[in-house]
């Protein structure tokens, strides 16, 4: 019996990757975006040098790198605090937001009584709440973690709810016709179906968590990269400000890439997903 429709393209592992190393091929494998970035940095360096812009207005990239090197030990200590706030706040967000999303999906009462409040609360600029958090929780790590949670919580709830609701009526009928218990329906059908959306939420949340930590440190802190930026600014040390900005950007990128890596590991069947509720 003949198969009528054409055979689909099965994933073929590329053989070319294994061929011998050459410098030209190495250069080609680098993303074009990286080249754009390098070109921009060179343009920055050259134009600042040619126009003799004062360092307290715009330092050259080479000066910023120098500063990172010179101030490295202090940057590391302060990064530790900032990373700690981000990670703790993010983990706490996940622990609260995911079960809440499950509750909203399963309980009509929660859907009607809680969900609209979560959505409308997003119109409150959370940065404006930051001083209040300092007044309530003092200058320690607590207000920072609270602000990180406030910022990263929303995208996780929204995307998890969207994902958990993505199970079609047919899929749920199918589960019931097999005699699936509500527990089996959740673990074997609904949750895996929701994972791509949930990861979209997690990724957005890591970005928000970094913003939250820095803003919280601006408002009231004596440690962290936000504090470094604040202090350097008050003494017109623009180069040090840039150094701290570079470090915090790298931290943000690394965290985002870690989430992407986790996504590829846990959700290998999906390579792109819709992001809902960008805050």
């Amino acid at each position: 019996m003949a198969v009528v429709e054409s055979t689909p393209a099965r994933p073929v592992i590329s053989e070319t990757r294994r061929s011998r190393w050459s410098p030209l091929r190495m250069l080609r494998s680098v993303s074009p975006a990286v080249w754009t970035l390098i070109a921009l940095v060179i343009f920055w360096e050259v134009s600042v040098r040619l126009t003799h812009v004062a360092e307290f207005i715009l330092p050259t990239p080479s000066r910023i790198i120098e500063e990172i090197g010179a101030y490295w030990p202090r940057l590391m200590v302060n990064s530790g605090y900032t990373i700690g706030e981000i990670v703790l706040g993010f983990v706490f967000s996940v622990i609260v937001a995911v079960p809440l999303a499950v509750l909203i999906t399963y309980s009509r009462a929660a859907d009607r009584a809680i969900y609209p409040l979560i959505v409308t609360s997003q119109t409150i600029p959370k940065v404006a709440i930051a001083p209040l958090m300092v007044a309530w929780f003092g200058y320690g790590a607590t207000p920072k973690i609270v602000i990180v949670v406030l910022l990263s919580f929303f995208p996780i709830v929204i995307n998890s709810v969207v994902g958990l609701r993505a199970s079609s009526a047919e899929m749920l009928y199918l589960a019931r016709s097999m005699g699936a218990t509500p527990w089996q329906t959740f673990w074997k059908f609904r949750l895996p179906q929701a994972l791509p959306n949930m990861f979209a939420g997690f990724k957005l949340a890591t970005v928000m968590a970094v913003i939250g930590a820095i803003v919280a440190e601006f408002v009231g802190s004596d440690v962290g990269l936000g504090y470094v930026i604040q202090v350097a600014g008050s003494s017109f040390n623009i180069t040090r400000q840039f150094a701290a900005i570079v470090v915090i950007s790298v931290i943000g990128m690394v965290l985002f890439m870690l989430m992407e890596w986790a996504e590829r590991l846990i959700v290998p069947w999906k390579n792109s997903s819709n992001i809902a509720g960008e805050a």
């Binding site: 009528v4 689909p8 009928y173 589960a175 016709s177 097999m178 074997k188 059908f189 994972l195």
Partner: protein, 269 residues
């Protein structure tokens, strides 16, 4: 050729539907999806439900599966009255509803996992079923790597894994191209022959209904009622070229005329 109503054959009746109605409560008042349905289906029979959109075909299927309760009347499958989800059925929808995170084999095996069946024996049967529908070699493929026709075949295998005596199909080939559809019709008839089951098949294709069925139940819309039941007296195994046979055309003509009489088709003069 036609009978006014399903003749009750108590001895080998597999499904008996008596006086069944289904009303949905809507904002603009009640919607009568089905009204006073009487239908008896024999064991091992292939019955197509044919009708235009909105005639309650899918609702009738959901009532049979026990996933949706009826408003009035009684449905018996075997000697049991349907009151809740019936575990002795297989369902295939128009959408394949495959789980994207599972391979073809794992999708079929879901049926056994949920039912807590003997996984080793189920695995053997799953591989056998996949081979029967020409999917040998694709057991480890993920749904996104498969074409629409292949995906629907996997979903048919999943519906058959636990050897259900009753297979419910809701326009299973509606989303496929014509040639894939022909092949899947042939595959389905072979699976039916090898697995001895009753098939309740919903379609809105007249020729598909004639080609596959022992009997075609014609339904009229709003509210959904059984209009006519036509016996299809064509030999089995059915072959594709039978569709060119004058007797085949007599059936499709008769059915077309019934729908014309119901005002389902509007033709320009």
């Amino acid at each position: 050729m036609s009978m006014p109503q399903g003749v009750p054959l108590a001895a080998d009746a597999h499904i008996s539907i008596t006086g069944v109605s289904k009303t949905f409560k809507g904002r603009a008042g009640d919607v009568h999806a089905l009204q006073d349905i009487d239908l008896t289906i024999r064991r091992g029979e292939f019955v197509s439900i044919l009708g235009p959109s909105g005639c309650g075909k899918s609702t009738l299927l959901m009532l049979l599966s026990g996933l949706v309760p009826s408003t009035k009347g009684m449905i018996k499958v075997g000697d049991k009255t349907v009151e809740g989800p019936n575990p002795d059925i297989g369902i295939v929808f128009q959408q394949d509803v495959l789980l994207e995170w599972r391979t073809a084999l794992q999708n079929v095996m879901m049926q056994a996992e949920i039912r807590k069946a003997d996984l080793k024996a189920a695995r053997e049967r799953a591989l056998q079923l996949l081979e029967m529908v020409s999917l040998k070699g694709f057991e480890g493929s993920y749904p996104k790597e498969m074409s629409g026709g292949m995906r629907q075949r996997v979903s048919i295998c999943r519906a058959l894994l636990h050897k259900p005596p009753l297979l419910l199909m809701d326009e299973p080939f509606g989303a496929l191209d014509a040639m894939t559809r022909d092949q899947l019709q042939l595959d389905l008839m072979r699976l039916c022959r090898d697995n001895a089951m009753t098939v309740f098949f919903i379609t809105h294709s007249i020729s598909e209904a004639v080609f596959l069925s022992d009997r075609v139940v014609v339904m009229s819309p709003r509210p959904g009622r059984v209009e006519r039941i036509i016996d299809i007296d064509l030999p089995r195994p059915r072959r594709l070229l039978m569709r060119e046979d004058p007797r085949f055309n007599d059936y499709t003509r008769e059915l077309t005329q019934i729908f014309q009489g119901l005002g389902v088709f509007r033709e320009e003069v």
